[in-house]
Subunit: 198 residues, 2 copies
């Protein structure tokens, strides 16, 4: 845990307070477990601060976040709103069936909504869960992502999760943690279980 003592103070013309409150682009990447759970753990801190939280789940793994979704939605009813958007079941802001839709178009539609939300500063914390995949698959242009994120207004913290984060994304990020698998029950033939994997 950081002890609040930077090793050196940059000559950037900012006060410590200004520098401290800069919005962060956070990336959780790597092959290990904990990328998304750490993002949702961060959401607890954001909730406690009264920040509106937006979760965007990319890829069809939407089904895997049942526990986090129900818990955070419950908190959202009692405090700052938590808005949950899932690509796998069709984005919540479009009222059409997406059962036959194209995954790439779906991903791009999600990204378009994120851009709108960033412009209007809808949330203070945005979790873009498994967002590295649609970027890596070429569904969402990395240049657009980089430009949009670097020019976002106000104080909007962003957490992006997923394996193999694009090098340019890592380069632009303020905080990057790589989750490495040292050991997993799957290695000894144990499947995922409720309460742990979802």
């Amino acid at each position: 845990m950081p002890q609040g003592k930077p090793e050196h103070t940059p000559d950037d013309g900012l006060t410590t307070r200004q520098r401290r409150n800069r919005p962060l682009l956070i990336v959780h990447t790597g092959p290990g477990k904990g990328k998304s759970t750490a993002a949702f753990g961060l959401a607890l801190r954001a909730w406690n601060q009264g920040w509106p939280i937006g979760v965007f789940q990319f890829v069809k793994s939407a089904k895997w976040r049942i526990g986090e979704e129900r818990a955070l939605q419950t908190l959202g009813e009692l405090g700052p709103p938590v808005t949950w958007h899932k690509m796998g079941e069709g984005w919540s802001w479009i009222k059409k069936s997406t059962s036959e839709s194209d995954h790439a178009a779906d991903a791009l539609e999600g990204w378009s909504q994120i851009k709108r939300d960033l412009l209007s500063q809808t949330y203070r914390l945005l979790i873009l869960d498994e967002f590295t995949y649609p970027i890596n698959w070429g569904w969402i242009p990395i240049d657009d992502v980089l430009t949009t994120l670097s020019t976002r207004p106000g104080t909007q913290h962003i957490v992006i999760t997923g394996r193999n984060a694009h090098p340019a994304l890592l380069s632009q990020a303020d905080l990057v943690t790589e989750m490495i698998k040292l050991k997993h029950p799957m290695d000894t033939g144990q499947k995922g279980q409720k309460g742990i994997e979802w």
Copy 2:
């Protein structure tokens, strides 16, 4: 994310279901951010399953978990109980001031309570936050930890967080993720901020 397909099935005489539901010893270690946040993210899944959750915070960093504590306590009032014990402010089950107490004795007292709770199966998920430190400092005997954890009854999942987890603990663990710091705002002189670090 595991796709539910173990590479090989062990010859351990267990059914897939029995093997799947074995209690896990999980360790989040390494120098990167996300060890504790991922543990608290897991707690959201446990809460959704209706599991009683016990959190034991070791070391004086107790002050750093305000957001998680308030959010999980709020959830605990609406669902399965979440019980929060902090060494830094004196353990909740002993009603004495610990302001002058010895840290090593405090840590050992926390561990004794964990042993009692494991025996009585008070919780289904136990988070031992920053538990690696009192082990490494020799305050809590590693052999006692290993024996206690390996003989715990029932289905009690345990998550231990902290840097430099003891090799024997890693060896006994079922799931180990190492959080590696690739980048941190502290590196460019930015201090920790609310909603992100606490």
